[in-house]
Symmetry: C2
Subunit: 648 residues, 2 copies
């Protein structure tokens, strides 16, 4: 990619960024330092790890020799600090803040001090189990943390010019390159949790040093090469137990080590791992022109999108292993749909656009972003969901332990703090997802008011999308050669028109993009999408959604909440012929388009009837059904919520 730069100017996204800057970053900093009295909730009943505090910064101080004590938390606790630092980097890039920069410089220094002379860095193993370094890669997260550190250091250097961060990054990457690889004497293994491959590819992209891309490629290719590698590894230490703060043994699909990655056809195992793996695979495939890897990426993508993805862009149908299950298995009330997994799906989609210019990738990116990713955060920016259900009855989450992971209001913080910092770094870097430069095309993937500055072209995108579907681009082509802009035509959009310099332009839909040739100079392109409420139906094989409908408007999936519709949402039914009206409610949920339509509600005839009756004990009454955007649910206290409604 060239020297492109994007700046979001959209007020609603700027509000999210401000929430991150003013709320999440300071809040997370306080959490990382245990300087805040918050209620840390367990993710679910069976979560076995203590979660009373974060201790993450203290772990670094201890590893650096600046403090005395024991490591506390998960083996991957370090990554909370790295994700915080990465979010800080993007935030500083957006809005300079000298105090924050000073604070973050100090964190970089601290990380540098905790780094071992050979470049290795991980506070758990440094403090607690030095003898087990790289001996439990299936659960150790050592390279996972290293990947997040590389991403953070690169972003921080990019935003601030801090050079120490790159020193740490090189030292760490070189250490890994000397330790892992196909050569004899090196370790032949990858981390149980993919992520380092993403960090190494980023390092390659900023440095151009082939060894880093090669190492990323190696980590991918060695995966699944020998399914017994972790078993063998365990034999090299005492082989006992799991690490403190580790992950109990799982079937090999959990780690995507059941097959060599380029032979995998389906999305298997832990959903976040799978999409992180695919993100790196797609990057390596595009960068190293690896057709076989690219083909595997496409196969796995098809499997997700055609058979294993919720309408909200959520993935991971089961809490056990936070994992994919089987085709068309999409339960709405027991699923996982982790915020991080949808964020990873966005990463994967973005990388796929470098392999193939196909609007479907951006469609899915947008679906995951506007629905499950944004749902991960409360409107106050201080409460977070890990799990993003499509159907909630609060008492079931409380009293049925198989649903204990399903919360009905966002907790302040969770014992495993992966999602909130991941969300923070996504929101602060959302700029980077709006445009792609692919094979001399500038693709407009997302409709977010922003300024794009490339080597040859600048674009001012103006829009209040998704409130309306009207998008105006002021494009300046600084070169003599015609520039080619690909404006995404969303898959959900049935009617759209285009204008070029005020004249109606015919739109050809080329795999989801409208390609506009822009001559030298300044020109105006208008793209007008019809945004209206739409009904969606699941594939017949999805048993959970039979006879049901979901409603969307533009990129937003909608849901019904008890706050608007009363209890027992399972008794509601949308009339198949009812008109769905749209009304802007500026004061509701920070401003949303509310949808309403006629439907019916089942009521009991005899409210004292027992459990089973030999005649139906229900009557249908007309009911006005009100829908709100899915990502805004759970912001008005504990209540029922449902995405899929019966349709009559």
């Amino acid at each position: 990619m060239g020297n492109m730069k994007t700046k979001v100017t959209d007020p609603s996204w700027k509000r999210y960024k401000e929430l991150v800057r003013k709320e999440m970053i300071p809040y997370q900093w306080a959490v990382l330092n245990d300087n805040i009295d918050i209620k840390i909730e367990k993710e679910r009943d069976d979560a076995s790890i203590p979660s009373e505090k974060s201790h993450a910064i203290e772990n670094f101080k201890i590893a650096a020799g600046l403090s005395k004590g024991e490591h506390y938390g998960w083996v991957f606790q370090d990554s909370d600090v790295y994700k915080w630092l990465e979010a800080v980097a993007y935030s500083l890039e957006d809005t300079w803040d000298e105090d924050l920069k000073t604070l973050a410089d100090g964190v970089v220094d601290l990380i540098g001090k905790a780094q071992q002379p050979d470049g290795y860095i991980n506070t758990y193993f440094t403090i607690k189990e030095p003898a087990k370094r790289y001996k439990r890669l299936v659960e150790s997260h050592e390279l996972y943390c290293a990947g997040h550190l590389l991403e953070a250091l690169i972003a921080y250097n990019n935003a601030t010019g801090n050079t120490k961060s790159m020193d740490i990054a090189y030292k760490l990457a070189n250490h890994m390159d000397e330790t892992f690889g196909p050569e004899e004497g090196k370790l032949h293994c990858a981390d149980g949790h993919e992520e380092v491959e993403i960090g190494l590819m980023k390092l390659y992209h900023v440095t151009g040093e082939a060894r880093y891309a090669k190492l990323a490629d190696y980590f991918l290719k060695v995966r699944g090469d020998s399914p017994k590698v972790y078993e063998e590894q365990r034999k090299t230490d005492d082989g006992k137990g799991i690490l403190g703060g580790g992950i109990s043994p799982k079937p090999i699909k959990y780690n995507q080590t059941h097959l060599p990655v380029d032979m995998q056809d389906t999305a298997e195992g832990h959903a976040v791992r799978l999409v992180y793996m695919c993100t790196a695979m797609a990057d390596v495939a595009a960068t190293l022109k690896d057709e076989k890897l690219a083909a595997a990426c496409k196969r796995i993508w098809r499997n997700i999108v055609d058979k294993r993805m919720y309408i909200t862009g959520g993935i991971g149908s089961t809490v056990q292993g936070e994992a994919f299950t089987l085709d068309y298995d999409l339960p709405n009330d027991t699923m996982y749909c982790e915020t991080c997994a949808s964020i990873g799906l966005i990463f994967f989609a973005k990388q796929m656009l470098n392999i193939e210019r196909n609007g479907e990738y951006a469609d899915v990116m947008e679906r995951a972003l506007y629905n499950t990713a944004l749902s991960g955060m409360a409107l106050d920016g201080k409460h977070f969901f890990y799990v993003n259900p499509l159907e909630v009855v609060p008492n079931k989450g409380k009293l049925d332990p198989t649903k204990s992971h399903v919360k009905s209001v966002r907790p302040e913080w969770l014992g495993c703090a992966c999602c909130p910092p991941n969300l923070a770094r996504l929101i602060t870097s959302i700029d980077d997802y709006i445009y792609s430069e692919v094979e001399d095309n500038i693709l407009v993937n997302l409709f977010i008011k922003s300024e794009f500055t490339g080597d040859k072209v600048t674009i001012y995108q103006d829009s209040d999308y998704p409130k309306s579907g009207l998008v105006t681009f002021k494009v300046t082509n600084k070169e003599e050669k015609t520039a080619r802009i690909g404006i995404r035509i969303p898959g959900w959009c049935d009617n759209y028109t285009g204008k070029f310099d005020g004249e109606d332009a015919g739109i050809t839909n080329e795999k989801g993009y409208w390609y506009v040739n822009v001559p030298t100079g300044e020109h105006e392109v208008v793209f007008a999408m019809e945004i209206k409420p739409k009904r969606w139906y699941s594939n017949i094989n999805v048993s959970e959604d039979t006879r049901k409908v979901a409603v969307s408007r533009g990129p937003q999936v909608y849901c019904v909440e008890e706050a608007d519709n009363g209890r027992n949402l399972h008794c509601l039914s949308l009339n198949s012929d009812s008109e769905i009206t749209t009304e802007w409610k500026g004061e509701l949920l920070n401003g949303v388009n509310v949808l309403e339509a006629e439907g019916t509600r089942l009521l009991a005839i005899d409210t004292k009837a027992g459990l089973y009756t030999d005649k139906p004990n229900v009557t249908k009454v007309p009911a006005k059904i009100r829908f709100i955007p899915y990502h805004t649910w759970g912001n008005r206290g504990e209540n029922e919520m449902r995405v899929w409604l019966f349709e009559d």
Copy 2:
């Protein structure tokens, strides 16, 4: 109860008894001795206990000093032997078998040798953790096993006259009475798993010794008295870990220790424990005329029957803790519905009839018996379900770990072997459930061809129920006083007629019974129930069953199977006005009445469509839907099954 005796003569129940005698008892004996090469399946993915063999008899030999080695299996492994012995006892009572008697005498001898001088008996603690005797009662199952032993020994003595069995029983019961009780110096605690209370009450009923009833009452009353008792207990040993083959810590509701038992209103925690507790409570309440306990039994009963019981008589809505969850929470595909829990519900119902003559108790007994209990066993008598789902898609059980407990064919044996022996003892003693003597009434609770011999009355019941609803009773009243026979009028039955000595008799339904006054001498009573297919609807609060119907015929709930209806059973819908026809198929599934009705099937219009479409991609075609009795499902290989169908 007087000196009553019942003998089942019904061919189909005799077939079940023969299966137990010829298949289950020898098979289980081989398992208990590890003399058989079987595939022992884990109950579910997260079952942590090794289950490669039973080792149960060997544990006794080691504890008795007859063999060397280590204890293997669950802490409650002994109870497998006791339940086997109890089934043997009932079987011998039915059909004498000298060889089996000799074998069982040997087992009694072995148990006697493993009993400690003070009366204590438990192979796990004797062999492995003598220092922890009675120090981990929350998980130890010491008294649970003792309860099963008492039941077995009493039954065995009753069937064979073996006196050694009663010696062991007295020694054990007296030991417990000396160890536990309100007096200072005794232990003030009950077992984490109720059962000893049932055994002690049986000992009371056969001996009339008040101390045993008093001890049962004490074990009930001390329960929940101090919710911290188990915590305190743990402090008296090293307090570390759980026992080998123990149960990981659970919330206190799991053990019904959250409240004193007579203050409990709802069915909470582990379902088997709850119904075992209630069985003993109802027995103690009736025996000791404890109104407060009786009232608690009634409250818990109402909660189960009105809000927490599946239409199949299954209980336990969640696999985690095999437990009750909340009112109206009855998921059809993730539930537990353990065979043992329905057996326990039958025990509870039987005891409730001694508190109150109300046909509802027998209705539920029949529902649980003909559906979930019988479903626990394959038609071959050699394969068993623990978990009795109402909706199964085989691959979901295999690939979604949250459904790994849901099997689609009955395994040969399971690591935790509680259900098959429990079923064996129920089937062999089914005679005892047909009639009750309550307050000078002889109640006919179940319609099973049988001979009843009481002190004053004999009854020959003749019927092929549930194939037809015609039941003829030849009643002989040997006394001068009129005898009162209460014939149950099933709650599901809308039309019925009665005859007395050939004359039409008006039937008054008194709380579910038709009371017939029978003068001295021999008389004939005919009770004719209309048995026809019926539709059932769930309470509106059961979200899983909204818009759905279940079909029954007589006491049998029906289901649809893939073998008869093809795949994707969620696409089937029963027409609301279609006639349901009945056809006897003698060759199918050992002979069943098959039901058929017109319905529709959803088919995809575009079979290559993706996951979500903005128009419904389904068309409805007429479909003949075939139903089979629920308890016969899963006998024709792996296939989909469903009880609740959509109705249009």
